[in-house]
């Protein structure tokens, strides 16, 4: 096609526009004071948080002779996975010498039922509070929220007695029950606020369509609530996995969760301090919440944005 007529038309117009002064997007230099400040601050913050992790990873891959040299920032001259193996399968706590693996499986056995139980109950609580306004709902909700502000320490002794009377003190089920109860206030608040943010007319439409309490919950509300379930799951997984206090108080040594066992390994006073084993054990304990964050991070942000933090 012949383009020359177009060119002759375009060029004078472009020149005119240049003469007319600023137009369109303003040009910005790649390196400006603003950018240096912004990315500099971000970089520093990232470094501040990543450095301890780096030291831990590096140390856990070194042998003891290399650690004794004292250069904690230098990368390992000879990479060894022996500390990891020892931390997982051989480290001693008290009489047991089967490493963290025992604590890991204990933690899994505590966490999975606690997470499922607490989320199942709290989501139905939140749904009932948001959509089925019953007499005294506000009072019930207030009591539940106040529960979130009472220090745990106050409740430990009474709880020990309650569990003893129920005959489940020191067992895994006892600890699962405790975790589920303590997750209730914050999770109920989370779910209630989410369900309140869903359009009320959806609920009304479902009632006119003849759906009852559970049908609306399972067929209408649940499929719309994936983000908030992910948020609740992350909160619970992290909280329960990292719990130390309840683990010590409510279980016996053979049922100790991973955190308690980690403490026992790191703080054991006999023999040489094996820093590489301690670092490996700590990283192993932190792996589960870390993986959960990585896998569901995007959904987490979506759930938070979708009304989880709205009052």
């Amino acid at each position: 096609m012949d383009k020359s007529p177009i060119l002759t038309v375009v060029q004078p117009a472009a020149v005119d526009r240049l003469r007319a002064g600023p137009q369109g997007k303003r040009p910005r230099p790649a390196i400006s004071g603003r950018n240096v400040m912004l990315y500099g601050a971000l970089g520093l913050a990232a470094l501040y948080y990543l450095l301890p992790l780096y030291v831990m990873v590096v140390t856990s891959l070194k042998g003891m002779p290399e650690i004794r040299l004292g250069n904690i920032f230098s990368p390992p001259m000879e990479i060894t996975f022996e500390p990891w193996v020892k931390a997982w399968a051989e480290a001693c706590t008290g009489l047991n010498c089967d490493g963290l693996s025992r604590g890991f499986w204990n933690s899994v056995k505590i966490m999975v039922p606690s997470v499922i139980l607490s989320i199942a109950i709290a989501s139905v609580n939140g749904y009932a509070l948001a959509n089925w306004r019953f007499k005294g709902a506000d009072l019930f909700f207030t009591i539940l929220i106040v529960g979130a502000f009472i220090p745990y320490q106050v409740m430990i002794y009474p709880l020990v007695i309650v569990l003893r009377e129920l005959g489940i003190y020191g067992t895994l089920s006892g600890l699962i029950l405790v975790h589920s109860i303590f997750g209730m206030p914050i999770l109920t608040l989370l779910f209630r606020n989410y369900f309140v943010s869903l359009p009320e007319e959806l609920f009304k439409a479902a009632r006119i369509d003849g759906a009852g309490f559970w049908q609306i919950y399972f067929r209408i509300m649940l499929p719309m609530s994936l983000p908030i379930f992910v948020v609740a799951m992350i909160l619970q997984v992290t909280g329960i996995w990292n719990d130390f206090l309840f683990g010590v108080v409510f279980t016996r040594p053979e049922n100790y969760p991973m955190t308690v066992q980690l403490n026992n390994i790191v703080n054991s006073v006999q023999g040489v301090k094996e820093y590489n084993v301690n670092m490996a054990a700590t990283l192993l304990s932190g792996a589960v919440p870390l993986i959960v964050y990585f896998v569901s991070g995007r959904l987490f942000v979506r759930g938070i944005a979708a009304g989880a933090v709205k009052g």
């Binding site: 007319e201 439409a205 006119i208 369509d209 759906a211 209408i220």
Partner: protein, 371 residues
């Protein structure tokens, strides 16, 4: 309590008896009575907060009344669940289930009720046919336009074969053009189905165009219940007169006087003869009143067909294409007059006015009731 329904008309579809509803100290509805005939299109009209949506929610069973009874098809449904009332409801926000396809949205109620598969398919197909949404059946609500969504929402009520349709401001979320289109469609649907429909809106055009009867509400009380033409031409009180009509009715305040054996309306030095006004109450001289005249019932210049002639000055002209709205200064008050779009006036020019008193309204200044 055993109710006495011997006094009911057999063609009554929905009947509301002494209905009251209060949230704590706030009374939304008070002692409301309303009978809706079988196959009637009733519009509940009012500004926001007048209780019209609350009343609809009571009929649907989504709100519990504090006092009173609701009958649908001569059955006392006051304590019934929404699904057992034989109603379908269409919401302003469509309220389609976002995770279900259009087909599943339509059939949800039937699936919950355990209707056999073939019957569901048959009814969904019929509904989709009526509303012309067959090509959309496999789509999710997010993939539909506003008009299509509202059509599906109507379909969800349609598919359940209900006696009474409830519409809660169904067109308020749509743009003006679509609103006009769907308005016509709803009217066509009503003519085809002949179901009872109760329609809540704050839009007077929707009310006037759709309704068999309009109930105008204010503060939880029905101000007037009549067919659209009566509501428009013979409003019961000042509120109804001012609410209906755009531009709104002209109001002149003054008093009644007797001059030469005839009753006239007097404001300042100006007199309007009230000959031809069909009054319901005696027009006693000296009574403070408000005279209401609709913009199109005032004639200008060569349209004035004898009788009294007044003169006014044009203040502002608002041409709207089909017609032209003149704002006049008259007797120290502002009046609007609607004339043909082709007739133009310059601000400041003088025009002759003649009023059609048979179409006028006179209200008592204190009670605001029609005389």
């Amino acid at each position: 309590m055993i109710h006495d329904n011997t006094s009911f008309r057999t063609d009554t579809s929905v009947s509301i008896r002494d209905l009251s509803l209060s949230f704590g100290a706030v009374t939304v509805l008070e002692n409301l009575n309303l009978d809706i005939h079988d196959g009637e299109f009733l519009v509940l009209l009012g500004s926001s907060g007048c209780g019209k949506s609350t009343l609809l929610n009571c009929i649907a069973g989504l709100l519990e009344p504090t006092e009173g009874q609701i009958f649908i098809k001569d059955r006392n449904v006051t304590w019934e669940e929404p699904k057992d009332r034989g109603i379908g409801m269409v919401f302003q926000s469509y309220a389609l289930y976002p995770q279900m396809t259009v087909e599943k949205n339509l059939s949800f109620g039937l699936r919950v009720a355990g209707v056999p598969r073939e019957e569901i398919d048959k009814r969904v197909a019929r509904t989709a046919g009526i509303l012309q949404i067959e090509p959309l059946l496999k789509r999710k609500p997010a993939e539909l336009s506003g008009g299509q969504r509202q059509r599906v929402a109507i379909g969800r009520a349609l598919v359940r074969d209900v006696d009474v349709f409830l519409f809660d401001e169904p067109l308020s979320n749509l743009d003006a053009k679509l609103r006009a289109e769907l308005r016509v469609e709803i009217k066509r649907l009503h003519q085809a189905l002949k179901n009872t429909m109760i329609y809540v809106t704050h839009d007077q055009i929707e009310a006037l165009t759709l309704a068999d009867r309009i109930a105008i509400m204010k503060s939880g009380v029905i101000q007037q219940l009549d067919d659209p033409i009566t509501i428009y031409n013979r409003p019961n009180n000042l509120f109804v007169a001012g609410f209906i009509g755009s531009p709104s009715m002209n109001f002149l305040s003054g008093e009644l006087a007797e001059e030469g054996g005839r009753i006239v309306f007097k404001t300042g030095e100006t007199r309007f003869s009230l000959d031809g006004y069909g009054h319901a109450q005696p027009l006693t001289p000296g009574r403070k009143v408000i005279l209401g005249l609709r913009p199109e019932h005032i004639k200008v210049d060569h349209d004035v067909a004898g009788g009294e002639v007044h003169e006014a000055v044009v203040d502002i002209e608002e041409p709207m294409g089909a017609d032209n709205l003149l704002w006049l200064k008259y007797a120290g008050q502002t009046m609007s007059v609607r004339i043909g779009g082709e007739r133009r006036y310059k601000p400041g020019s003088t025009v002759k006015l003649g009023c059609d008193m048979t179409m006028a309204s006179v209200f008592d200044a204190e009670t605001e009731e029609r005389l």
